[in-house]
Symmetry: C2
Subunit: 339 residues, 2 copies
């Protein structure tokens, strides 16, 4: 087993000091060219690579970014992650991922662990548990220690940090407006509980589009599913009870489920009823008919988040100025709406 070689080994072997070796490897002007050559040759021969941990300790920089997301088996979050990873890697950073599992406690634990020197900054989307609890002390602690934090997608107003998310309100607004322009009158919204910031925003957009177009808001046309788990019965009851000709869903799964349900009842999509779903994921793409989707530009979001974070990390500016970047959603039209 070839153990990793250190500066000390090289120094001892070559009969010079550790500092000389260090400088020689950095091609310092201080060191004579013959010594430099000797050291560099030896280092290459034994494949010397500096120890990241030692450098981190010295520099107080880890070149690691902590990413905390609610779930990893999740198309949108992984898309964002891809953007983060791509940008970070290009800048020489590695990414440590922790999954909060939508739990406040796990979010706190993971954050505290990473905050003790393991990372230079955080990129995260809040867990639903945290949004429900509305307790952001763990975030505050971290930022007060001077650790940069960028929130994406699931953000919270009252945290002072950088943020990047899409204009969910506008996404919903545009979708509903499209329904109306297509002549739809009874437009449903399938959503989750309100404490998730994005759901709340989407509901606002939905309502606003209706009122801007003179359609009376009808509470009954909103179906709130209590969890991400599909409640077949609630959906079935909803469609049995309400006559709707368009459905906006805050996620793909609710949409696909509803589509299959109404299809099984003999309705035609999009002739009798059309659908638009948030998140342009796999399901939307491969459903039949394809589900018109509101793209959230996850990869771009990730890249921007990483860019903002790394900028902060590298020029640790004391002045506390925070940016909020809001991306514009895009509607990807597919077969579930009339073109």
């Amino acid at each position: 087993m070839k153990r990793k070689i250190t500066l000390k080994h090289i120094a001892r072997e070559l009969g010079v000091s550790i500092s000389t070796v260090s400088k020689a490897l950095k091609n310092s002007e201080e060191i004579g060219s013959d010594t430099k050559e000797k050291v560099q040759a030896f280092a290459k021969l034994y494949n010397y690579k500096p120890n990241n941990i030692a450098i981190s300790l010295k520099n107080k920089r880890t070149k690691n970014i902590g990413v905390i997301i609610p779930d990893i088996v999740h198309h949108f979050f992984t898309t964002v992650f891809r953007g983060i990873e791509k940008y970070a890697n290009a800048k020489g950073y590695n990414v440590i991922v922790c999954v909060s599992d939508e739990s406040f406690d796990k979010e706190v634990i993971n954050m505290e662990l990473l905050a003790n020197g393991s990372i230079d900054g955080f990129i995260m989307a809040l867990s639903s548990g945290t949004q429900l609890k509305n307790d952001y002390n763990h975030l505050k602690e971290v930022t007060e220690q001077g650790i940069p934090l960028v929130l994406f997608d699931r953000v919270a107003e009252d945290i002072k940090c950088d943020k990047v998310y899409i204009n969910d309100r506008k996404g919903a607004y545009n979708a509903v407006t499209k329904f109306i322009n297509d002549g739809r009158k009874r437009i449903a919204l399938i959503t989750t509980d309100d404490y998730i910031s994005v759901s709340r925003e989407r509901a606002v957009g939905y309502t606003q589009a209706l009122s801007d177009n003179g359609i009376v808001f009808n509470e009954n046309l909103i179906l709130k599913l209590p969890s991400m788990e599909i409640d077949e019965k609630m959906i079935e009851d909803f469609f049995k009870r309400e006559k709707v000709d368009a459905v906006l869903s805050v996620n793909e799964i609710f949409a696909i489920h509803s589509m299959r349900l109404v299809q099984s009842k003999g309705l035609e999509i999009p002739e009798d009823i059309s659908f638009i779903g948030f998140t342009d994921g796999l399901l939307s793409k491969y459903a039949s008919p394809g589900l018109t989707a509101i793209a959230q530009h996850g990869e771009q979001m990730g890249e921007i988040a990483a860019e903002i974070l790394i900028e902060k990390v590298e020029n640790d500016m004391e002045e506390e100025t925070f940016v909020t970047k809001i991306l514009e959603p895009t509607i990807i039209e597919r077969g579930s709406t009339v073109n």
Copy 2:
């Protein structure tokens, strides 16, 4: 900005030595109880947490696991990742993810970077680039340095390390056997190029099941798509050219695509043609009809990989004994096959 407090700060503030503080916080018997109390109270008050990097340097243990996967926006890999993360976290480990993007070069770069002290061990699935090139020197280098390595799913025979994957051959075998028992005669296989280990294995299982059941192998019934990108035309030509009554696909996407194609041609699933696809992901679940799938037990795979790795890391046994754990695939029956 509250900077992180260190042992040195506490020592200076309390007029004791650093070692006293360190021991007091560990509740060492060497320290008098009043001193201990004083130190502990002070530490709690100022929220002292030891610096991970310093501890890593001292212990030569990072409590980080490096995970390298070909892609992150990928249901199966994220499922495995979830298993890894869950187990690792429970054991106090964090996970650093790098995405090889199916590229040999990126895999090498990421590995070398992490190997310089950032992690205690690797869990990875080989990139297709690496499998194509058949060059495993970067893996060898790492293991020779005594860094434990666990390969999952995309493994390679000639690497000496721990491995965990499912019996792909058997998965395909069982699927084809089921087709035959259901009375199917012209059974197609849609796959990728052979250099991906799992595809190769699945093809073997396919062929074996045919021959074990006295069905003549027909080369024309195998469709090899050159890449993960869907080539609509190739699929369409295939189904135009060959009359098939059952399709085994090495992934969901090829299967779903084919299903939609044959449906658009007026065929009924599963009456006229039935489908089974590898990986029990979202698409299989939400397709219509649902796609009968071969589950790969990703989460379990991840947990096992993490368990093996952490065991190795914590009891760094010099004896080089490697385990290979092969999981049994399970068929999840849905509407795309006759029950």
